[in-house]
Amino acid sequence: MNKLLKISNSVLALALFLALMVASCRSGGKNAKKEADSLTVPGANAAVYEDIKQAEKIFYTLPSPLESAMLIKSAGALFDDNLLNPIENTKNYNTNKSMALNLGIYTCDLSFASLYDQTQLIINYMNAAKKMADGLGILDAIDQEDIDKLEENIHNTDVIMDIVSQTYLNSNSYLEDNGQPAVAAMVLTGGWLEGLYISTQLIDMKDFNGNKLVGRIIDQKLSVDILIDLLESSKGHPAIDELITQVNKVKVVFDKITLTTSPVRPEYDQTTNVTVLKSEVKADLTPEVFKELSATVAEIRSYLIK
């Protein structure tokens, strides 16, 4: 009888613990509530803004691996497979932290290979990403059907991009919906850092001035604070605390760049139904600061793929 009572109490304690876990997971960014906005909104905007109060959920989002790879390609950079994390390294990743970071890293490498039609690398890196997702217990993130579809459409970039996008969505949504925001944040961090690593390594200092890719690297200054906010929302998790320290090293270098943006003017184009957000931006990245940024990112990335 006493034994049964003890078991029942244990079940109740476990249930209560799980309930609290789920409640905290579901609330997501609720703890991150910000102070009420005190806004000065010009003219007609003011009425709309009166409705705004505190948000129940805050999302901090980074450029996805696919978007990062697209930014590299659109800047006219060439493909270099030496920059990718070798797939042989997959055997070294046995902890949740290393698998999560390298899921992001391999997904970025996969995206990079996809946009440059590197057929064999696409399959290899999809398998590497699958290995990481499987290791993290992410059910059905990348299944055999995805791999088969990838092989069947290996020369169709649009289909490949769709598959990469879907598999990344599956991983993120599984982690978020199953109460693992810290692991999800690690995946995003890995992907972002890999995109920044590849971009910085692709810069030839002889073509530094006027290089479009340098402009995209400067733009990452806008994302580094978002990344820190994202990581801060899972502060207290040992792996996340370590990542905050690492990412702060990148932020210190980005802080040496001054970015001045003129006010944004939205202009709606009736013929295309597209709004153009007009503004001018000025940045002062020197070759010296760039080299420091490149070295800092390379050092952190080297640590992450160990």
């Binding site: 009888m1 049964l4 009572l5 109490n9 079940v11 109740l12 249930a15 799980l18 309930a19 789920v22 409640a23 997971c25 579901r26 960014g29 906005d37 806004l39 709309v48 803004y49 409705d51 705004i52 948000a55 129940e56 959920k57 805050i58 999302f59 901090y60 989002t61 980074l62 450029p63 996805s64 978007e67 697209m70 930014l71 659109s74 649009d158 991009m161 990469v164 996008s165 969505l169 993120n172 949504s173 599984y174 978020e176 919906d177 995003l188 479009k212 402009g215 995209r216 733009d219 806008l222 978002i226 006010p263 944004v264 939205p266 295309t272 709004t275 153009v276 957000l277 503004s279 001018e280």
Partner: protein, 147 residues
């Protein structure tokens, strides 16, 4: 002891229901929101949550000058039409769905890269009685190279 057992079962059922609701947001996002991106490539990021009437969510993201974007916001059928606004870093409103016939999508491109803030609100239906409706709300981004 029996009461404890019943309490445990009830709690576990509550947990299961909670997990199910959030789990459904992925299916909802993929089924309802993803098709709204049309010819734009989904970036692969996942932003969905359960919101009730009167609740809000915020999203911070950097958008790049090389790209053309489509922002798509979807809410469960049981919710009033979800409103959203896009603001720049100086908190100026760049777009309001309420002022654009309750638009569910917004297509835009940028002259220079910007960090933007998106505020999503589930308005109250105004009904005094009963519990406020709640359901999944998803935010999705599609992109393509700027034409």
């Amino acid at each position: 002891m029996r009461i404890l057992k019943i309490a445990s079962v009830l709690l576990l059922l509550t947990i299961a229901a909670g997990v199910n609701v959030t789990g459904q947001c992925k299916a909802f996002a993929k089924k309802t929101c993803l098709p709204e991106l049309g010819s734009y490539t989904h970036d692969g990021n996942y932003h969905a949550t359960v919101l009730s009437e009167g609740e809000e969510a915020e999203l911070y993201k950097t958008f790049y000058s090389d790209m053309e974007y489509r922002l798509s916001i979807c809410g469960d059928e049981g919710l009033p039409p979800v409103e959203f606004m896009v603001l720049d870093v100086n908190r100026n409103i760049l777009f309001s769905s309420k002022e654009s016939n309750n638009a569910r999508t917004w297509d835009f491109k940028l002259q220079s890269s910007q960090q933007l803030r998106i505020i999503i609100k589930v308005p109250s239906s105004g009904q005094q009685s009963g519990t406020p409706a709640s359901g999944c709300v998803a935010i999705m981004f599609g992109f393509k190279i700027k034409s």
